[in-house]
Chain length 453, copies 2
């Protein structure tokens, strides 16, 4: 086949992979429910020029390109489409530069989030965005999805840290957008546009990110246990209304605690039905006390605060383990709705209602301080009836988030799973703007086709 | 004329203005050197629906639309083009909502920056972006130009606070982009794209902004006087390298101090040749001391720190007065380059060099902590030779900023004055992306034509 021969000739030995087992392993992300197509080939370029050549060839031959990092996405955004080239950037994993004076780093897209954080820490600096996938997910994937995380409640999301990008366009050009300076308004915010576009507008081959100084004071952890989801939600709303700015405010419910206990035997479910994990990093004892007071006044059955790093780490580790613990029980359909913080109790109450009316198990973890909730619908493997009910509950929760003035996706992206929901959220006029931009930057429609739009 | 009759019929009594004196007064911004065309008419709509009708009629009749707020821009972005309708949004000046629990405000585009700040303060909240024009400039104009300001060195620029927008598209549709929630990744970042697009992609009719809590502690002001621009620049580089995060770090040179003294008789020039004004708002005495130490070690001839609000306000007022004080001396050609912070001394030295070689007076004010410098080239009115030399110096400074890895515009925008510089900065590949997006969102090219691109 002429195209594959040209692709092979354009890349160094071993960078074009046709082995069906390997191609299959690269053909999907972690969204167990999202469909996947059959890829034509996998390429694993070593540098931006090789990426450029791949995209240029795909453009010439009208072959779809599906870029991917570590494949930890939860919306199917990196899933293969039929006849595509899977463009895996995980091998481009070098931290190219850390400029401590200018507080920035330049990295290849395959650099793992935690690796960047460790490299920055060596200079007394900090890269804040910390998705739960941080031990595995890549900065390129984080940028493509505008990933969030635990500390985003105070420090913002990936887009807030991306200064500039090197991008391969759909035409096969290698360009630089954005900047290295602290400010800059020369032209449109193309860097911001590529961030979160899930590989549909260009392929990110290098990322320049802003770094902060490592916080001085060790964080304080505030734990509250609640008798119900809605009580915990009321504590979140109270913390928001009080104007506190915790650096984390996470919610984990009994279903998740039990799943982690069953796997890791941590005894978490003994603490209560719903846990809130708060963190304050200002060194301000008063702020930690005020957050605990919000927990207590909302009806916490138990609360405590601690500066014991080990104890705190164990609790936050449990929160990170919740998702893989649930995956052990069956395919997980992951929601990512985000609502105004004051409406967290209302949204949690509606989620409980949907679990009842649709007859499905819904576990809840949440970046509660952001109003970003992750109801996780767990279905026994092979139960087709439950699967259909889960699908209905999923869409009903999206519609409720929209009805409450929220969004169908706070940080995971649209991918394949939230296309219907996004269309309902944005409406026809805004979708028309999306299509116009997509056509302008990718007229042949080769970049991750069928995702988002 | 059919078009004007249709426009008149579409608007309430008095909202279409044809009086040549009034139209002329709305035909330019504060960029004294930027060309202006002859407008056909001025409209002053009262609401988004009237804006929509105006843009739809202009689209139908292929008439250019130049949107504007208070006209305080410094790049000619709001200047009339021949045959245009000037779309003045200054009359749409209501704060529609302040939601204290969600920490956000919804405003019409004509709300003056300081008025939003005052309204937020009534709820214990704070809208940080504070361009020097804050007593006059509007949030709509701030969003259209992604305006910066004094506190941006710590708190970021306008785009960092815009959550959502209501926009009239070039097709005459009224749409909402962005969100009200803390996070959201449903689709492309269209709100971020419209911010800073200087009215070339759509007309902003409503803005939802994120608010912070008012800082608890009164700020401390740190003043340093230096014998030379380069010494002051070294203090800025030292502060950056030390990892300090002042909430302001402003530079004012003798030329500006003298101009303010001549106008307001403040005795500022007695303090030194170049002043650095720092502000620390953490309540941390150590941080204020560390910033003063940076000043001293870089060779300050005098330094002091103070919590006297009145004294501090007088110094920052002098900084705000520098621009109007210089305008009294002749037409001012305003630069807005931004370079890596560590290269501030080098850039200041090159600016001094250009003043000598081009034989022009260049005054300097700067958001120095950001690396955002405002060399102000002042020319005696009517001196055509000096005017030509100023123009050469202006372009040479832009090229130096690019050569140092910086940008031709940190916060003022491209407008008309920086088109050559922006093209040199971005290069043909990135310009092609700009043109593609402009054509996609404004195929007939009616929105602020000739600006940016």
């Amino acid at each position: 086949m002429q195209f594959l021969e040209a692709l092979d000739a354009a890349l160094p030995e071993g960078r074009l992979v046709l082995d069906p087992g390997v191609v299959a392993a690269y053909s999907r992300d972690q969204a167990a429910w999202a469909p996947q197509g059959k890829a034509l080939a996998l390429v694993r370029p070593e540098d931006a020029e090789q990426v450029r050549r791949v995209v240029a060839l795909c453009a010439e031959h009208r072959v779809p390109v599906v870029p991917r990092g570590a494949g930890t996405g939860l919306s199917g955004g990196a899933n293969a489409v039929d006849g595509c080239v899977l463009l895996a950037l995980d091998g481009m994993d070098r931290v190219l530069e850390i400029d401590a004076d200018e507080q920035l780093a330049v990295v290849q897209p395959g650099v793992v989030n935690d690796h960047l954080r460790a490299a920055a820490a060596g200079h007394g600096l900090w890269y804040p965005p910390d998705p739960a996938s941080s031990p595995w997910s890549t900065i390129g994937g984080n940028a493509a999805t505008n990933a969030g995380g635990v500390c985003c409640v105070k420090y913002g999301v990936t887009r807030d840290y991306v200064l500039g990008l090197q991008v391969v366009t759909a035409a096969g050009d290698l360009v630089r957008v954005g900047r290295r300076t602290r400010k800059g308004v020369a032209g449109y915010d193309l860097a911001g546009l590529f961030v979160g576009s899930e590989g549909t507008l260009g392929v990110i081959t290098e990322i320049t990110v802003r770094l902060l100084r490592l916080p001085d004071s060790p964080p304080k952890t505030i734990v509250g246990a609640f008798g119900s989801l809605v009580d915990a939600g009321r504590a979140v709303a109270a913390a928001a209304a009080s104007g506190l700015t915790p650096s984390a405010l996470e919610l984990v419910d009994r279903y998740c605690l039990q799943a982690v206990d069953d796997w890791k035997n941590m005894g978490l479910a003994d603490l209560g039905d719903v846990l809130l994990l708060g963190r304050v990093d200002t060194g301000d004892e008063q702020e930690a006390g005020a957050l605990q007071a919000c927990f207590d006044e909302a009806g916490a059955v138990f609360s405590t605060r601690s500066t014991d790093a080990e104890e705190a780490e164990a609790l936050f580790a449990a929160r990170r383990l919740a998702y893989p613990a649930l995956e052990r029980l069956g395919p997980v359909l992951t929601e990512d709705v985000c609502v105004p913080r004051g409406l967290v109790p209302e949204m949690l109450s509606r989620i409980e209602g949907h679990a009842r009316t649709h007859g499905v198990h819904i576990a809840n973890i949440a970046h509660a301080g952001d109003g970003n909730l992750h109801p996780l619908i767990v279905v026994p493997a092979g139960d087709d009836g439950a699967r259909a009910r889960a699908q209905s509950a999923f869409e009903a929760i999206l519609d409720d988030a929209i009805a409450l003035g929220g969004t169908v996706t706070g940080e995971h992206g649209v991918g394949l799973l939230k296309k219907r929901g996004m269309h309902a959220e944005l409406g026809e006029g805004v979708l028309a703007l999306h299509r116009a931009i997509k056509s302008a930057l990718d007229p042949a429609g080769i970049l991750n086709p069928g995702k988002i739009l």
